[in-house]
Symmetry: C7
């Protein structure tokens, strides 16, 4: 199934970062904060001056966008305006 | 009964996807999340740059639109702006 | 008493549809959902590109408009923008 | 005391309609719904395309406008936009 | 102390009207409704088409404006748009 | 530390007025209302038609602006639009 | 990891000021107010008339922006409009 965002939207896939306690324990999902980092999977028909593209890593505003499942994996469809920053590792 | 949406609206019919548990059990409706996938049944007088048409499969924002029953089947009248993405299987 | 809507408004009269249970029981009003189908009784000074006219059957957004009684019958004064679709039986 | 509405406003006086029960009992005010019918008493500096004038009977949106007492009688100062329809008996 | 309102604002002083019961009893403040009648004490830099001037009696929307004390007397600084009507006794 | 407001904002310092009871008792802060009088300490890049300047005494809308401490003294950064009036003693 | 804000946004790092009680006790974080002072770490594509640059100290509106952690240190991505003032020590 291919999902193509409409208009000024992006399809992003949250990047879950493992968190370990000081003692080395890996914390399960529910014990960590909601991830705010994601990778762009598909783009809609963005404005010309938008430099975001598939594969970019971004930080997005918490609780923005609409969560959907694609092949059982969590994705988010989000407005470009709710993308706050681009991440370069 | 034919329902023709007015203005920048669509008539869509939610696509209910069966969900099975790992053990093969089919879950009844009330146990699954609200569907967000639908097929377009009728279109209003859309803007020229809108590429959506009858038969397209779309993903729409949860809780958007107005639910109506047509011949006992659930439909939704929804603003084009609340359609988030187009789906290609 | 004649009620003439002002501006971009319509006077509509809800169409109450009888509902029968599988066993043929007619359900009283309070047991059914609020009707969303109505017939246009009067029109205000609508925009030129509006094709709605007296006698059209329409579907309107739940809880929109203002209810008034005319000769003891329920009517609604509603903005044209809250009319979602036109119905053809 | 004369009250002259400013700008796009009207001074209206609600028309209280007596309600009788089937048995002929006149219901006191508190037992009936808030009146929504009024007569225009004064007009502000309305737009040219507004056809409302002193003496017209109108229907107004519930809970709109500001109630004031003039010589112990209830009046309402209301925006023209909150007048929904004109009534002709 | 002189208070000069800025921009599209007025300084008004509420007019408290004594209320007597049928028996001639004067009701204290807390027993009466909030006054909505005031006299204009100072004007800001109003639009040219505004005809309000110092000394005019006006009716204003309840709970609008900001109350301030000037020499221990209650005054209100209010937007011209929250003045509903002019009063002529 | 010097604080320079950005854009259409002012840095103001509330003027606390001592309040004495009839018996001459000075009331402590918590017993009096929030002050609404302030003196302008710094100005941002105001519009040309704004006549406010450092040293002016002003009245501002309650609960507007953001409180900050500068050298342990309370100050407020406030939008020019939330300044209601200028005070001349 | 480098975080580059998009559009009219800044990446800032709150400046935590130690607070000592009169007796010289250093108060832990939870006992002090939320800091409102920060230093600019990265800038987005700001408007030409914006004079803010990396390294500037600023005061920002409480509860504005989105908190993110970069290498375990608290940062905030904030709209330029929520920056209230520039600080010069």
């Amino acid at each position: 199934m291919m999902v193509k965002p409409l208009g000024n939207r992006l399809l992003i896939k949250p990047v879950v970062e493992e968190k370990k306690t000081a003692g080395g324990l890996v914390l399960p999902d529910s014990a960590t904060e909601k991830p705010q980092k994601a990778v762009i999977v598909e783009v809609g028909t963005l404005d010309e001056d938008c430099t975001l593209k598939v594969g970019d890593k971004v930080i997005f505003a918490k609780y923005s966008g609409t969560e959907i499942k694609i092949e059982d994996e969590d994705h988010i469809i989000i407005d470009v305006d709710d993308v706050l920053a681009k991440v370069e590792d």
